[in-house]
């Protein structure tokens, strides 16, 4: 089974901010309300970035890097189950870089 998340249609066209306290459409909110529930469901997840008007590195890093840092997911597991559909190649590259560079947070 595959779950598709279209950020522009289901979340917002202009996601920005890192933490929930930053604003209404932050990376942390997207991770907690969309990404993590879909991944915890055990299914493959496709995230479609088309139609959005920019992200900001904080949003992308927190949403995707945060999966490894705070949620106990492994980069190797995400590579198998997470698929990024992007109008621009750089977004996909950056997301995978953030996932690969994120280290589990020992404080959590």
């Amino acid at each position: 089974m595959k779950i598709t998340i279209n950020i522009a249609e289901e979340f917002t066209r202009s996601p920005a901010g890192r933490h929930i306290s930053d604003g209404p459409f932050s990376g942390e909110k997207f991770r907690q309300e969309f990404l993590l529930p879909a991944l915890q469901n055990g299914s493959d997840v496709e995230v479609n970035l088309s139609g959005t008007l920019g992200f900001g590195s904080s949003f992308l890093e927190e949403a995707f890097g945060g999966l490894v840092r705070y949620c106990g997911l492994l980069a190797s597991d995400l590579k198998k189950r997470l698929n990024i559909i992007s109008p621009v190649k750089t977004y996909e590259q950056r997301i995978w870089r953030y996932i690969n560079e994120a280290a589990p947070d020992s404080r959590r």
């Binding site: 202009s14 996601p15 901010g17 604003g23 008007l53 992200f55 590195s57």
Partner: protein
């Protein structure tokens, strides 16, 4: 010049006061200035003809003198009448700083600020568009039609709400390819995030103001906040180098710290944080005629269209941070 004794000075002052009261024919505590027709207990401060801060240095000096004059009189307990009658041109840098200052003055000295309507129609429309006249107690009376006003998008807020910038972004997508546009939007979103995360961290809430416009192939974005300045943010966790700079090069330490922030130095010391300014600089450096100016506390950093970096010291500190970003997407020089 003849020196007066203390008694003679008092006598002279009493005489002038008596003369004023007689001329005004009104109660001594409600004197009217004959020339301006305003209450003489209110100090009138004229806004500069060109409300500009960024460059040249002379206009920055004039702007600083104007704000010092207002602040001095408010500190003395006087009411201040901000007189816009000389002003014929507003620049985003000067207007953003003035908006921040007026918010701060209104909070610190409630009810002490008044203003006159500008004589210039375009200036009045702009001040109305950004609701500055309302904040100074003047109701809006114009219909905003001037192209120099309508072409500027104005955004403000407390949180990171990039959705309000959508009209500007959609306008940009009409003139630039999607890939370049998205990279530019990333920078704008990240700059807003930076304000929230760095300038107003630790429960210190505050606002930001942004102007943005597209003109042919040029994109201008100006953002101002009155939170913690970049030097203060970085010095929360100083490096050995910072301590050395502050001790030995104190005059220009702020400029050096701002320059360091454009190279991804951040107070969190986390490599994935504080990418807003470096991304803006990187984007500007891709296009030959683009520039970036950052003013914060007593320092400034400038990246000029001729690919030169400069940083230095400001005579008067800026409260918070002002970022001016210009990207020229034309590739004529490449």
């Amino acid at each position: 010049m003849k020196l007066l004794t203390y008694k003679a000075k008092l006598r002279q002052l009493r005489f002038v006061k008596w003369g004023n009261e007689k001329r005004c024919k009104c109660k001594p505590n409600k004197r009217i200035n004959r020339r301006s027709g305003h209450d003489s207990h209110i100090k009138t401060v004229r806004v500069p003809k060109l409300l500009q801060y960024h460059v040249p240095r002379q206009t920055r000096y004039i702007f600083e003198e104007f704000t010092k004059d207002v602040e001095f009189n408010l500190n003395q307990g006087r009411s201040v009448l901000i007189d816009f009658s000389d002003t014929i041109r507003l620049y985003p840098c000067g207007l953003l700083l003035l908006m921040g200052l007026i918010e701060s003055w209104n909070n610190s000295y409630p009810g002490k600020l008044q203003a006159t309507y500008p004589l210039d129609d375009r200036v009045e429309q702009m001040l109305q568009q950004v609701q500055l006249l309302e904040k100074l107690g003047l109701p809006a009376r114009k219909t905003i039609t001037h192209i120099d006003v309508t072409r500027w998008h104005y955004f403000s807020g407390v949180d990171v709400d990039a959705g309000q910038t959508d009209p500007f972004k959609l306008e940009m997508l009409n003139i630039i390819p999607e890939e370049e546009g998205l990279a530019l939007f990333d920078c704008i979103n990240e700059a807003m995030t930076n304000v929230k995360q760095h300038a107003y961290s630790k429960g210190n809430e505050g606002g930001w103001w942004m102007f943005a416009t597209v003109s042919e192939s040029k994109i201008y974005v100006a953002i101002h906040d009155r939170g913690m300045s970049i030097p203060v943010t970085l010095l929360n966790r100083p490096t050995v180098g910072d301590i050395f700079k502050i001790r030995h090069f104190r005059r220009d330490a702020d400029g050096e710290l701002i320059a360091a922030a454009t190279g991804a130095r951040t107070n969190t010391k986390l490599p994935w944080r504080g990418q807003g300014l470096p991304e803006m600089l990187e984007f500007a450096s891709k296009y030959p005629k683009s520039g970036l100016g950052i003013y914060s506390r007593n320092g400034f950093f400038r990246y000029s269209p001729d690919n030169t970096h400069a940083h230095g010291k400001l005579d008067t500190a800026v409260n918070g941070t002002l970022v001016l970003w210009m990207v020229d997407l034309s590739r004529e020089q490449e």
